[in-house]
Amino acid sequence: MKKISRLAKQKENIVDTLQLPKDVCMGALCVTLTGNSEAWIENYRGILEYTGETILLQGKTCQVCFEGSGLSIDYYTNEDMKISGCIKAVRYL
């Protein structure tokens, strides 16, 4: 476990040094919020849970949970997705 985290640290250092985009190299989730009504997400693996109040997404390294009310998915493709509704919280799990 320790070894994996050390490798991850090293990789992050290299990416930082070479000034490479982290979302491409590290597979980090890219979340763009517009106010509290829209969210645009890239680099995810899939949906784990979807209700009107919660949308839980699986990323490469973590999970992200959008909480709010009246949440709906405007579109959903392999590349990106857009969530709209009243977003009250974004939590990383």
Partner: protein, 409 residues
């Protein structure tokens, strides 16, 4: 744009429920099936999917244990079969489009702008004589030739531009607005400038001729102001001969003017009874169809409203629809109150002053009175005005003084 493409390709609104709808969505995205407007209501998920995507859903539903139901069908692929049943509608649509296209091959309106001296009627009759008419084919029109022809026909036109805007022929012209220089009449006998009325000379600028009065002089009508006879003097200041010229100059005279306006006490006013009758008409080119009518009322006036439908307006096709409203009225005799009369008369006198100012007359003093005459209000105004005034008259010929016999010294 995206909505239009979606409409053209067609899409479905589906309901997904069952064991794992989230997995269903993930698998769809993995296989490149686009889903949009995903909403959850109770246990079911509602979403939109393309027709092509829907056809490849079967393995996914098997894998995820979900069930899919179509709720709505949208787009052109679902609309077309419905249209097949409506043959008359299709026929009408096609006829409409073909009429539209066919009518766009013709000129339906001719608009002329920039003409001041040449009236529209004269111009249009010229166009007609050159076979440029409303309803002609666009192809038959040679714009360059038309422009040249216009310039040839009307020498006063200095610039022409004709262009087609849709089905409208726009002709813009520019007329020569500088006054045409008339060839000067040979100064046979010369011309004097004489006073056209009694008054006082206020300013005087003489360009040719011999001034006979000076600024400040009181003159009577017919007084010679500038003489068109220039004496050529001998050495002893006696006139040897006279040169006759056409006098020219700017002379401003001050004189008194009286003006009177009257307004009868009584006048007749229309009083509408409120009863109206409306008739409709339709006009296509010179053909007119209107609802049959007898004399609607014994005394009435009519208001005609014409309107070109928007579609024809854009195409400039001369189709016009309108209404004629006949309004009944009775003639009622009214008497002006003093205030009404005064305001009407002051309005009239204001217009008179304005017309004077437009003519270049400067009002120095004015004295206006309104009084009650017999049968009418009378407005009297005495004005002191300054205006550019002179009249040309032939110079009186004077015999050349006989030459003195030369004496030898």
């Amino acid at each position: 744009m995206i909505t239009l493409i979606q409409f053209l390709k067609g899409y479905l609104r589906i309901k997904v429920w069952g064991f794992s709808p989230e997995r269903f969505m993930n698998l769809c995205s993995m296989r490149g099936i686009l889903l949009w407007d995903i909403e959850k209501d109770g246990d079911a998920y509602y979403m939109c999917i393309s027709i092509k995507g829907f056809r490849s859903l079967l393995p996914i539903t098997h894998k995820t244990g979900t069930r899919v139901a179509i709720l709505q069908r949208h787009g052109l692929p679902f609309f077309m079969p419905l249209l097949r049943k409506r043959k008359i509608f299709i026929l009408g649509l096609l006829l409409c489009i073909s009429f539209w296209i066919f009518s766009s091959f013709f000129i339906w309106d001719i608009e002329l702008s920039g003409n001041y001296q040449i009236t529209e009627d004269v111009f249009l009759s010229y166009l007609k004589s050159n076979d440029v008419t409303v309803g002609m084919r666009k192809k038959e029109l040679d714009i360059e030739e038309l422009e040249k022809g216009i310039r040839r026909q009307f020498p006063v036109i200095t610039w022409t531009s004709a262009r087609l805007d849709g089905t409208k022929l726009l002709i813009q012209i520019k007329e020569n607005d500088t006054p045409s220089v008339l060839p000067e009449e040979p100064a046979e006998g010369g011309k004097d400038l004489v006073a056209p009325f009694d008054g006082k000379i206020v300013s005087m600028i003489v360009r040719s001729g011999v001034p006979k009065v000076s600024i400040g002089d009181e003159v009577t009508e017919g007084t010679v102001l500038v003489e068109g006879k220039i004496p050529v003097l001998n050495e002893d200041s006696t006139p040897r001969e006279y040169q006759y010229v056409s006098s020219d100059g700017d002379i401003v005279m001050e004189h008194a003017v009286t003006h009177e306006e009257t307004l009868p006490f009584d006048h007749i006013e229309k009083e509408y009874t409120g009863r109206t009758k409306v008739k409709y008409f339709l006009r296509i080119g010179n053909l007119e169809w209107r609802m049959e009518e007898e004399q609607p009322f014994s005394v009435y006036d009519s208001v005609i409203r014409e309107k070109i439908p928007v579609l024809f307006q854009k195409l400039s096709i001369p189709v016009m629809a309108g209404s004629i409203t006949h309004r009944e009225y009775v003639n009622v005799e009214h008497t002006y109150s003093e205030e009404e009369a005064k305001s009407l008369l002051s309005q009239k006198i204001r217009e008179f002053f304005l017309s004077l100012e437009e003519k270049g007359v400067q009002i120095i003093e004015k004295d206006v009175t309104i009084e009650r005459g017999s049968g009418a209000w009378i407005l009297k105004s005495g004005l002191l005005v300054q205006e550019r005034a002179f009249r040309q008259e032939a110079t009186a010929q004077e015999p050349v003084p006989s030459k003195n016999p030369e004496t030898d010294e």
